[in-house]
């Protein structure tokens, strides 16, 4: 038994190293100058030199981009969670052809390729005055995220036994009351999943900001990254430094969220 665990541990460690290798190269690039990389690729830099990071920080307005990313991601995700939890609950408990129709509608919405909606969305945003601020983007992300969100929440709520709810109804609890007092506390695990998936998607998405945010002061990190890569296409080291800088917040976020996910996931199998 001991030796088997040892074997598993070694196998997993090797897999982890393979997973980290490309990132190690990125970090290596970020810490070296173009000339050092050019001269020897894998050599560690002679001294810890943060020049690339300093340069990237100075030229890229990183704090602004970071703040924008945080705002857009936070509010979009909050919107998605609230709206999908409500809709998912209604679909799971309504349980009539009408609700099944909406379930299928959300599901088929997930199939719509972004290429179809790209130009029309832009025109819509223009006519409603939603370009060049964060509102339009949040609403669109909300609309995109709700599709899979409803799927998750519906599946999860269907797996919750109705007995408690029925008992609460007999005690005179109204539907919103039941939702807030009984259902919401049970939704933690699925909330965590939906939150992480959407937060990651929105944090990293760059096509939508590219279309919607022309003004510099509203740019999010990936968009800023993209412009930065374009401007320093021949200075890979600087580009990598910027990339690594963009990684740090999301890694911290994940470390923090992971505890929450593991803690939040209680017993009770997820029913799809």
């Amino acid at each position: 038994m001991k030796s088997k665990r040892m074997f598993v541990f070694i196998a997993v460690s090797i897999a982890a190293l393979i997973f980290l290798f490309p990132l190690y190269v990125a970090l290596l690039m970020a810490l070296k100058s173009a000339k050092q990389t050019f001269e020897s690729f894998y050599a560690l830099p002679p001294s810890l030199d943060l020049a690339n990071f300093v340069h990237a920080w100075d030229t890229s307005k990183f704090p602004t981009a970071f703040l924008n990313s945080v705002i857009v991601t936070t509010i979009s995700v909050a919107l998605i969670l609230i709206v999908s939890a409500l809709s998912g609950y209604a679909i799971a408990r309504g349980n009539k052809p009408l609700y099944s129709f909406f379930f299928l509608l959300f599901l088929s919405g997930m199939m719509v390729p972004f290429q179809v909606t790209m130009l029309p969305l832009y025109q819509l945003g223009k006519s409603l005055g939603l370009l060049n601020n964060h509102w339009g983007m949040m609403l669109i992300y909300g609309g995109f995220g709700v599709q899979s969100g409803v799927l998750f929440f519906t599946g999860f709520v269907r797996g919750i036994s109705r007995e408690i709810e029925e008992a609460a109804r007999i005690d005179g609890c109204s539907t919103p009351g039941i939702f807030v007092r009984i259902i919401m506390p049970l939704l933690k695990p699925v909330t965590a999943t939906v939150l992480v998936l959407n937060a990651l998607y929105i944090w990293n998405d760059f096509l939508l900001p590219l279309l919607y945010l022309q003004k510099k002061e509203y740019r999010t990190i990936p968009l800023q990254q993209y412009f930065f890569f374009g401007q320093y296409s021949s200075d890979l080291n600087l580009a990598f430094a910027y990339a690594v800088m963009g990684l740090i917040p999301i890694i911290i976020f994940f470390l923090f969220m992971q505890r929450f996910i593991v803690k939040g996931i209680a017993a009770g199998a997820i029913k799809g």
Binding site: A16, M29, Y99, F229, L255, G272
Partner: protein, 292 residues
Amino acid sequence: MVNLRRTIRREMWYILFLVPGVLLFTFAVIVPFATGIRYSFTNWDGISRKLTYIGWDNYVNALQDPDLWTVLGNTFKYAIMLTLLVNAISLLFALLLDSYLPLRNLFRTIFFLPSVISVVLAGFIWSYNYSQGFPRLLSYLGLDMTSPLGNPDHALIGLVIIAVWQGVGAPMIIYIAGLQGIPSELTESARIDGAGPFRVFRSVTLPLLAPSVTINMLLVLTGSLKVFDLVLVTTNGGPGFATEVIATFIYKNAFNSYKAGYGMALSLIFFVILVIVTVVQVSIFRKREVEM
């Protein structure tokens, strides 16, 4: 009578709960989608101000386009490879990390790490590694390697590797959540009954995991059929169309060849394909879940 009123009130609440979701969805998906459908019946080039309705011409041309079948082939090859690999690997990781293992939180973080990177960045890092990093590393071992992305026979696999690296994180989380939902008494009692680890996995764990499998399969498959930015930033459909997928094909038609109307028609055909794939998949898995 009181009962009826109560039921009606309950239904009213359900409808009310649905409203915000439907509104958001209408704004972000339905309205643009309808506009897209309208364009697909025109010869709009994406830039001029005039639209001419040309009926079903775009659709007829699309279905007669041999390139469409080539790119669909590429797309499905990529998607099937990726779906199987991502699910197998993420389930394996979830199983290994779910059991007691030293440093398992660290490992979880490491396997999840690549999926928090934007695709643009991952493509950038990997292209560089494929053409510079790995060959140099292997040359120390006396091996000669060229970038898989530069050869039409290997390019698709090269992309799948990047996508697997980026794609196991989220499904792994979902599988771990699913595994933690399985009461340990069940697996324990199976073990006590003398079942080996594989037997326990097949007869107890997997059936109970079925919902997670369904969701992961669905998400990875639809996501990978829609693959776009990874191809765009790494190979741009090359070499020799070996990695041209449906989304990039649509994009190029709409933007590089100035045929927005035709591009919209292609994307609607693509939409129909996606719906069929999903419906088929969901019904298969639902059936299996019931049987279990």
